[in-house]
């Protein structure tokens, strides 16, 4: 097999130099001539009817160039999900009703920020306040105020149901009755947020040719274009979403946001560029946060720990509109069934409207929440049965070759190897339970620091069918044999531009520095699946591979003519093409390109490649029933946390993380390590300190001073073990898996399990604040 020159190597990021130098232009840095400042008037009430809006005084304020309300809009709804079952439910600018604090009511474009702010104060809105509800389980009750009518297909006597996922197989009740042990627990994953460093920001510029140009801090330009065009009533060709660097997203910048719509509408109204920038306070108060989840888990096991049955009920608070609520209750099923074999299952998930602010995907989207619950309970079951946490997991973990309940094959799946490698690397078995066994000894020594170890597993899909479903890539050879790589992929920091470059370099035998990437412009680049659902390296990567192969085939055809040889006898290396058996007969790539221009139809060499995930099915699986194929490949991991808990203060310090993960084949090991590091950090915050606090629909800790994310002193050193289950071969399709979001989950569960191991205190509601540990210790006394 050929030695790989670029793929599998820790090539430095393509965008490293411009980011290190400060030259990289983020949306917030874009400044256009005559640009106006946009400010948005938002509802201060959690639930109200809008009776009247008077913008006349604001419009008369000198310096105000445009004011928009719903009457300037086409009143077209949009939604994270837009399907016949789940039609769009949110106006991009409120029409007659507001359903959460912060809902957009009007927008102003003015010559500066102060004028725009002043104008907001001059807009007169008359509301009729409606009863509001904030607790998700209360919102389901029949006597709760109605935020939206319950979904017509949901028959249970509940109110405010935005959507339901239900599925089952086997005979759960029979299996429970035959179980040696049945446990039932309730878990809560809190409201938390992405904390991307670059706030939400959009620049919209509608010009006199009738074209809307938009730069926005997003996660993929094609979805933004589609939703903007539809809600604004413009053809796709008149909405251009262009690349700017994105300062982090983690799920929080997918979907269409009202500020993007309002900035666009204002620009269309006054024909000036308009910029809308959130302050950090606005990000905390009004931007969408991750999905909170309540999980009821009932599990029956045999005496040896084999899972016999599971009954899972999840409840999601989607806020005032559906958002991704109906997706997270579907995904929670998926992240529940992927890791262990569950022969009998009943799953039901409800997404419920409340008058809280809106929620959206956050890295893992259901996986961290579910893995926290399921892995916590797995340890509790293991303890009751007297089985080691590693053994019970090995007994239940899925193996390669298994077919998942939805029909997806687990082609190669390194979960078992991950468990074994991780446990071995940190000597899990000898450490587990030690602290609790030796508690008396510690007390004699007077030590209040307890050490614990815990494991968590997870698994994650690699790309699924969500608009735009597929990716295309074009590679152009230039006259001098440098390459222009054209992709719609948007780099949020995770590194697709670098990865795609490595793949093209490998396939074409062109050094990475000779490849320029042109990315993420709806007008001039190719459609791309988007930087979410963890499919970019797999889907766009395969498209890049095919594009490079396509260009090379054309190049070799020309070379064959020039060298009077058969294309299959040629070999390409170092930008030259040789006849294999007589290497003195050769032609440079540049000469081959020149020959193509001179002697063929004048065509320079251009290769194209297209790839779609889950090719053999027409559409994504049913969010309602879970039926249908989901993904082509599944990553997996086993993650171990070691913690120290101070039993006097309740403070938890994560001291070591061991991360064994199967991401298929690491195209760029350094980028893989960076993804894993980032996920550990995010999981530490999820486990221990992060929580968006809400009172009566108002967010009350809207700053980094009050919402603590891990800093450099909190970050744990970690050991990463790559379990390689795929091969990258030149000229062949590859099946690499995701690494960017699934690995935030196992380590979260592992921290919770390690805290229990250290203290004997089980915290079922995240985050594990010190006071919860102290209360638990008090109860044990």
């Amino acid at each position: 097999m050929d030695e790989l020159l670029y793929v599998g190597k820790s090539a430095p990021r393509k965008d490293g130099p411009v980011k290190a130098s400060g030259e990289a232009q983020y949306t917030v840095d874009i400044t256009l001539p005559g640009m106006l400042c946009c400010k948005i008037l938002r509802s201060h009430l959690p639930h109200a009817r809008i009776l009247r809006i008077d913008t006349s005084r604001a419009e008369r304020l000198p310096g105000v160039k445009a004011v928009v309300t719903a009457k300037d809009s086409l009143k077209i709804k949009h939604g994270f999900v837009e399907t016949p079952r789940y039609p769009a439910d949110q106006y991009p600018i409120a029409v007659d009703r507001v359903r959460y604090v912060g809902e957009e009511v009007a927008g102003v474009a003015a010559i500066d920020e102060a004028t725009a702010e002043e104008a907001l104060g001059l807009i007169d809105v008359e509301y009729e306040e409606l009863p509001a509800i904030f607790d998700v389980e209360e919102a389901m009750k029949l006597d709760a105020p109605e935020i939206h009518p319950s979904h017509p297909k949901v028959k249970e006597p509940y109110k405010n149901i935005g959507g339901k996922t239900e599925t089952s197989w086997g005979d759960v009740e029979k299996a429970f009755s035959e179980s040696h042990l049945v446990r039932e627990d309730r878990y809560v994953s809190q409201l938390r947020t992405h904390a991307y460093m670059e706030p939400q920001v959009t620049v919209a510029s509608y010009d006199y040719s009738g074209k809307l140009n938009v730069w926005t801090s997003g996660m993929g330009v094609f979805l933004k274009r589609a939703k903007l065009a539809r809600t604004l009533g413009l053809p796709f060709g008149r909405v251009r979403v262009l690349k700017s660097y994105v300062g982090g997203a983690f799920g929080g910048k997918v979907d269409l946001f009202s500020h993007e719509y309002i900035a666009s509408l204002l620009s269309m109204k006054c024909r000036k560029p308009v910029k809308a920038v959130y302050t950090r306070e606005e990000v905390f108060k009004f931007a969408r946060h991750g999905q909170p989840l309540i999980m009821y888990i009932k599990t029956g096991v045999a005496r040896d720990g084999t899972i016999l049955a599971q009954k899972i009920r999840t409840i999601n608070d989607s806020g005032g509109y559906r958002g991704s609520g109906v997706v997270v209750i579907f995904l929670s099923w998926g992240y529940g069934m992927l890791t262990y074999r569950i022969p009998n299952l009943v799953y039901e998930g409800y997404s419920v409207y409340t008058n809280n602010t809106l929620h959206c995907p956050q890295r893992g989207h259901g996986a961290p929440q579910m893995r926290f619950a399921l892995e916590s309970q797995m340890d509790m079951i293991a303890e009751e049965l007297g089985i080691d946490p590693i053994e019970i997991r090995l007994r239940n973990a899925r193996k390669p070759g298994e077919i998942l309940p939805n029909g997806d094959p687990l082609k190669n799946y390194g979960l078992i190897e991950c468990i074994e490698e991780a446990a071995k690397a940190c000597d899990f078995k000898s450490k587990y339970g030690k602290s609790r066994r030796e508690q008396d000894k510690d007390q004699q020594k007077g030590s209040h620091i307890k050490r614990g170890i815990g494991i968590g597993l997870s698994s994650y899909m690699g790309g699924s069918l969500i608009y735009p479903n597929s990716s295309s890539v074009i590679v152009k050879l230039n006259d001098d044999a440098t390459v222009s790589l054209i992709t719609g992929a948007l780099d949020l920091g995770q590194g697709p531009e670098t990865i795609l470059c490595q793949i093209v370099a490998e396939e074409m035998g062109v050094p990475m520095e000779d490849i320029q990437v042109f990315a993420a412009d709806t007008e001039t680049t190719t459609q791309d699946i988007g930087s979410w659902i963890s499919g970019l390296t797999y889907v766009t990567g395969n498209a890049a591979k095919l594009a490079a192969e396509n260009a090379m085939k054309k190049l070799l055809d020309v070379a064959a003519e020039e060298l009077d040889a058969d294309a299959k006898d040629l070999e390409a290396k170092n930008k030259e093409i040789f006849v294999k058996r007589s290497p003195e007969r050769k032609i440079s790539y540049a000469d081959a390109v020149a020959a193509s221009i001179a002697k063929r139809d004048g065509d320079t060499i251009i290769g194209e490649g297209h790839y779609r995930t889950v090719k053999d099915v027409p559409t994504h699986p049913s969010l309602a029933t879970t039926k249908g194929r989901w993904s082509d490949n599944y990553a997996s991991d086993a993650q171990i946390a070691e913690v120290e808990v101070d039993t006097e203060t309740g403070m938890v310090k994560v001291v070591k993380a061991t991360m064994a993960h199967d991401c298929g084949f690491p195209i760029n090991p350094q980028l893989v390590e960076g993804q894993i590091d980032g996920q550990i950090s995010m999981a530490q915050g999820h486990a221990l300190c992060e929580e968006v606090l809400v009172k009566d629909g108002h967010i009350i800790n809207p700053s980094f001073l009050e919402y603590k994310i891990p800093c450099a002193l909190d970050m744990v050193e970690n050991e990463q073990i790559h379990v390689i289950t795929e091969k990258y071969q030149k000229g062949r399709h590859y099946d690499t898996k995701e690494v960017g979001e699934g690995h935030v989950s196992g380590i979260l569960a592992a921290i919770a399990n390690a805290v229990y191991d250290a203290t004997g205190v089980r915290v079922n509601e995240l985050p594990i604040y010190p006071h919860k540990i102290l209360e638990g210790l008090e109860k044990k006394k």
């Binding site: 490293g16 460093m197 980028l671 960076g674 950090s681 450099a712 002193l713």
Partner: protein
């Protein structure tokens, strides 16, 4: 609001600059809006995240908390000012080589904080590095590669002696 502008002279990246500023404007605003130095980013506007860090007389300071009128006569260094003669500063290069950059939004402030540390203490321990950057938030990298990058420059300094 007192909108009377005040002239201030300061040195930015080695150049003498004179700007007229309202007394309520921050150094961050003046750097970005008046001097068009967009490398300095804003992420929180309340001093909590360190993203807007610049060097003021060599010390890392949050430019969102500094009033521009107080900068009279100060020497300001932004991310645009540390590459020399067309070559990136060794810390910038180390951030690239060690994979310490992902989205890059915290990178300018992080690099300047690292520069202040290394200027003062060329061979800091790992813990000293962590402590020095503990006021600079990063959500992408989990910090480990940033610590490695700064450590690699320190090691380089040690080797160079």
């Amino acid at each position: 609001m007192n909108r009377t502008k005040q002239y201030i002279r300061l040195r930015v990246n080695g150049e003498e600059r004179e700007v007229a500023v309202s007394p309520n404007r921050t150094l961050l605003e003046v750097l970005r809006e008046d001097l068009l130095l967009f490398g300095t980013k804003e992420a929180c506007d309340d001093g909590a995240c360190g993203v807007c860090t610049v060097l003021v007389d060599g010390k890392p300071m949050r430019s969102c908390l500094l009033l521009a009128v107080r900068m009279e006569g100060k020497e300001i260094t932004t991310i645009e000012g540390i590459a020399q003669a067309g070559a990136l500063h060794p810390i910038q290069q180390a951030f690239i080589d060690q994979g310490a950059i992902q989205c890059g939004f915290c990178t300018p402030g992080m690099i300047l904080t690292a520069k202040a540390l290394l200027d003062e203490k060329p061979e800091p321990s790992k813990h000293e590095i962590r402590r020095a950057i503990s006021g600079n938030l990063c959500r992408c990298t989990g910090y480990n590669k940033i610590v490695d990058a700064i450590g690699s420059v320190a090691a380089l300094a040690k080797g160079g002696r």
